[in-house]
C-alpha cells in the first residue's frame, strides 16, 4: 500500500521507492549515505560482489537515452548480484504505440523486482510506482525537469566525503538551474541536510528570481556567486537552451558564467568543484579547472555506484 502522505515511504517510514529527494526525511538520506560508505569498500575486495540482490531482477527502463546513468545503475545492480535487464524502450514498445502502464504491466508479468526509470516526462516514475505490483520497487533515474534523486544523493555523498559537515557550508550551483533536475534534487537535499547558504548562479533566463522560494540566494553575477564558496557545482549547459533563444551563444555563456581558474580563485582555497557530467570543456568549465586539484568530478562517478548500490539494497530489503 502506498502511503497517502509520501508514496516513497511505507507505514514504518522506510524507503520503498526513490522518486524524489523532496519529502525524504533527513534520517533516510543519512541512512543512504552511511550505507553507501560501506558499499564503497566492496570495490577494493578480491570478490567485488555482494549477494544482497541475488535472485532479483532489476529492469532498467530508459524511455530517454542516457548511457552513463544506465551503466552506473547496471554496475551497481550487478555488484549486488541482481540480474539486470536493459530495455531500450524509446526504440521498442513505445514506438509501437504501447502506453507506459501497459509496458510496465507486461514487465511486471515477467517477474521484475525493481524498475530503474528514466523518462522525459516529469512524474513518470511516480505514476509507475502507483500502478506496479506491491513487491516492485521503483527508482527514479531522472524524470523531465523534476528530479534526479540518485545524482542529488551522490552529490551529497561527495560533499560529505570532502567537507565532513554540512552545517557551515556555502554551496554555489552554477548554470541552467531552472531546467535542471539535478539542481532541484541538490537544493532539496542541501536544505534538508542543513546547509546555511545555497546559491543559484546564472543568467536571468536560466536562474529566475522565484527560485528564492526554494530557499536559495539568487546571483546573476558569477563573482558574487562563487565568492567564498566551499563547493561549486557546475551544471551542463544543454545545447537545446541555446537553440531556444535563452542564451546568445555558448561563448557568451563561458565568458560570464564559465568556471575558469580566475573565477575559482574567488572561492575558498580548499573549495571543491563538482559536475554531474558529461562536461562541456570551454562551455561551462575550463579544462584547467576540470582537470585541476579542486576538481572532484571523477570521485563523484565512483561514489555514484556506491550510492546506487545503497539505494537498491535499502529498497530491496523494505516491504511496501
Amino acid at each position: 500500500m502506498l502511503s497517502k502522505r509520501n508514496p516513497q515511504l511505507n507505514k514504518h517510514g522506510e524507503l520503498i521507492h526513490l522518486l524524489s529527494i523532496e519529502g525524504l526525511p533527513r534520517a533516510v538520506i543519512e541512512q543512504i549515505l552511511d550505507t553507501a560508505g560501506s558499499f564503497l569498500s566492496v570495490n577494493d575486495r578480491e570478490v567485488k560482489k555482494v549477494p544482497l540482490l541475488r535472485g532479483k531482477s532489476v529492469f532498467n527502463l530508459f524511455f530517454e537515452n542516457s548511457t552513463r546513468t544506465r551503466t552506473t545503475f547496471e554496475i551497481a545492480a550487478k555488484r549486488l548480484s541482481a540480474d539486470v535487464i536493459n530495455l531500450d524502450i524509446a526504440r521498442s514498445s513505445t514506438a509501437k504505440g504501447e502506453t507506459l502502464l501497459d509496458t510496465v504491466a507486461n514487465l511486471s508479468a515477467m517477474h521484475a523486482d525493481m524498475f530503474v526509470v528514466r523518462h522525459s516526462e516529469s512524474g513518470a516514475p511516480h505514476l509507475i510506482a502507483q500502478h506496479c505490483a506491491p513487491h516492485v520497487h521503483v527508482v527514479n533515474a531522472g524524470d523531465g525537469r523534476h528530479a534526479h534523486p540518485t545524482q542529488g544523493l551522490l552529490d551529497m555523498y561527495t560533499i560529505r566525503h570532502f567537507k565532513k559537515d554540512f552545517r557551515n557550508l556555502t554551496v554555489a550551483i552554477v548554470g541552467d538551474i531552472v531546467h535542471s533536475r539535478v539542481a532541484r534534487s541538490d537544493i532539496h537535499a542541501l536544505n534538508v541536510l542543513g546547509v546555511p547558504e545555497i546559491r543559484a548562479v546564472g543568467p536571468k533566463t536560466l536562474v529566475p528570481g522565484d527560485l528564492r522560494d526554494m530557499g536559495v540566494r539568487v546571483c546573476h553575477d558569477m563573482a558574487e556567486g562563487v565568492k567564498g564558496a566551499d563547493v561549486v557545482i557546475m551544471l551542463r549547459l544543454q545545447n537545446e537552451r541555446m537553440n531556444g533563444g535563452m542564451l546568445p551563444s555558448s561563448g557568451e555563456f563561458f565568458k560570464h558564467f564559465g568556471l575558469t581558474p580566475e573565477k575559482l580563485a574567488l572561492a575558498k582555497p580548499d573549495a571543491i568543484v563538482m559536475h554531474p557530467g558529461p562536461i562541456n570543456r570551454g562551455v561551462e568549465i575550463a579544462s584547467e579547472v576540470a582537470d585541476g586539484k579542486s576538481s572532484v568530478i571523477l570521485p563523484q562517478v565512483t561514489f555514484g555506484i556506491a550510492v546506487r548500490m545503497a539505494v537498491m539494497a535499502i529498497l530491496a530489503g523494505n516491504e511496501a
Binding site: S38, S41, E46, V47, V50, L52, G317
Partner: protein, 161 residues
Amino acid sequence: MSELLLDAEALYLELKKGVQKLMTPDTALVGIWSGGAWLAERLAADLGLASGTISSALHRDDFGSRGLVKADHTTLPFDVNGRDILLIDDVLYTGRTTRAVINELFDFGRPARVQLAVLVDRGGRELPIEPAFSAARVTLGPDQKLRLAQGEDRRLKFEVK
C-alpha cells in the same frame, strides 16, 4: 545464571588464555561486529596480534525479512590469503552470523584456516558450527537476548533482556 557467569571481565581473561593456546605465528584476529570487535581489538593489543573487524550485514540470510541492518563495515588491514584467521565473537547462538561472516571473509581472499573463539556459547545452533574455544556455556530461553556492552571506561559487561 549466577553473577560469576555473567562477569564479562573475568570471562575475557579466560578467553585470552584460550586464544593464547590457539594462536600461531600466522594468526590474525577478526572480531565480529560489534561485541566481537571490541574483544578482538583488546586481545590484539594484549597478545600482540594483527586484528580486523568483520560485519555480517552484506551476507545475512534474513535480509529478505529484516532488510539491510545497520552495521559497521568490514576492515581487514592485512592480506587474508594464506592467513590463520581466528574469528572472535561475544555470544555464539544459532551460528547464522558466523556463516555470514565466513562468506564475507572469503570475499577478501582464501585464508589457510578459519577458527572461532567466543566469550559465551549459549547453545541453540541451527548450523553445523562449533567454536574452537568458548570461555563459558550458558543456557537461555529462545526469547532471551544476551549481548555484550562496553561501558565508558571500556569495561565489558553482559546485558540480558
